[in-house]
Subunit: 132 residues, 2 copies
DNA sequence: TTAATCCTTCCAGTTACTGGAAGGTCAAGG
DNA sequence: CCTTGACCTTCCAGTAACTGGAAGGATTAA
């Protein structure tokens, strides 16, 4: 099947699918006219990639996951440790975003938000008084 | 003062300070030898930028915040709405990350993580069974 | 004088796509 | 048979916000 259909099946934009080929993630066959021709297995891989990306894995991590998926001698511990590392990274990011959010919320609460120029938000960004 | 000192004062790497000049955020004076020469006011702006970036504002938003900071006719409501929009964006991101984290945690819990190849994580990424 | 540590500019690379141009192919309708 | 529209192809450039490194000039201390 050609790229438009592969896109619909996998949920990835055609542009992204071509990009994945560019970086050697999936190489489809070619039809006589030069069009890409995706097998069921290819679609499977594309869907796998789509889901792994949605779970927060980088493209390089997805490459590894895909190779592990196709490696019948893999150790599940390798996959698990990838997943747990990702969880840790995500947790760190959540903590960081939460603290940013709390700070901004406090600043916004302090600001009356009308047409006058005095603004605690700017004052605090400018001043020494930022407390997280 | 030259860029190394400005870097120490503002907490921004010299590279970043030069980059901010490149994109017209802050233009310091130049000494006779061609070195950048930062005034106290420049340092103030750099510190402002550093903090606003840390709060999650994009560089373009920082440009706007800096211009508002220097605009004595500003309305505080404009600043407040920037802050509240940012809070909303951050909240969305946190929700997204939290759902990724929960999913990965569940997958990792289901995986025994030893030297055998069978792995529920890969199975679920590959299969139709992803439930968020 | 020389070595270390600044500073300068400029070019390239990062991540993961996305947009767009220029042009080939295919299926359907008139 | 021709045209039109929707596909497909490749290639080039741009995004965000830096970061690294090369090549070379300036300053300072020993």
């Amino acid at each position: 099947m050609n790229i438009g259909f592969a896109s619909k099946k996998s949920g990835l934009p055609s542009k992204t699918i071509r990009y994945y080929e560019d970086i050697d993630l999936i190489k489809p066959a070619r039809a006589a006219n030069g069009y890409r021709n995706y097998s069921e297995q290819d679609i499977h891989s594309l869907t796998f990639l789509h889901r792994a990306r949605d779970l927060g894995f980088s493209v390089e991590e997805c490459r590894l996951l895909l190779s592990l998926y196709n490696d019948k001698n893999r150790s599940s511990s390798e996959v698990k440790s990838l997943a747990l590392n990702k969880v840790a990274t995500i947790e760190k990011k959540i903590i960081e975003l939460t603290s940013m959010k709390e700070m901004l919320t406090r600043l916004a609460t302090d600001c009356h938000g009308d047409n006058r120029p005095d603004c605690p938000i700017l004052d605090e960004i400018a001043g020494e008084v930022l407390v997280s």
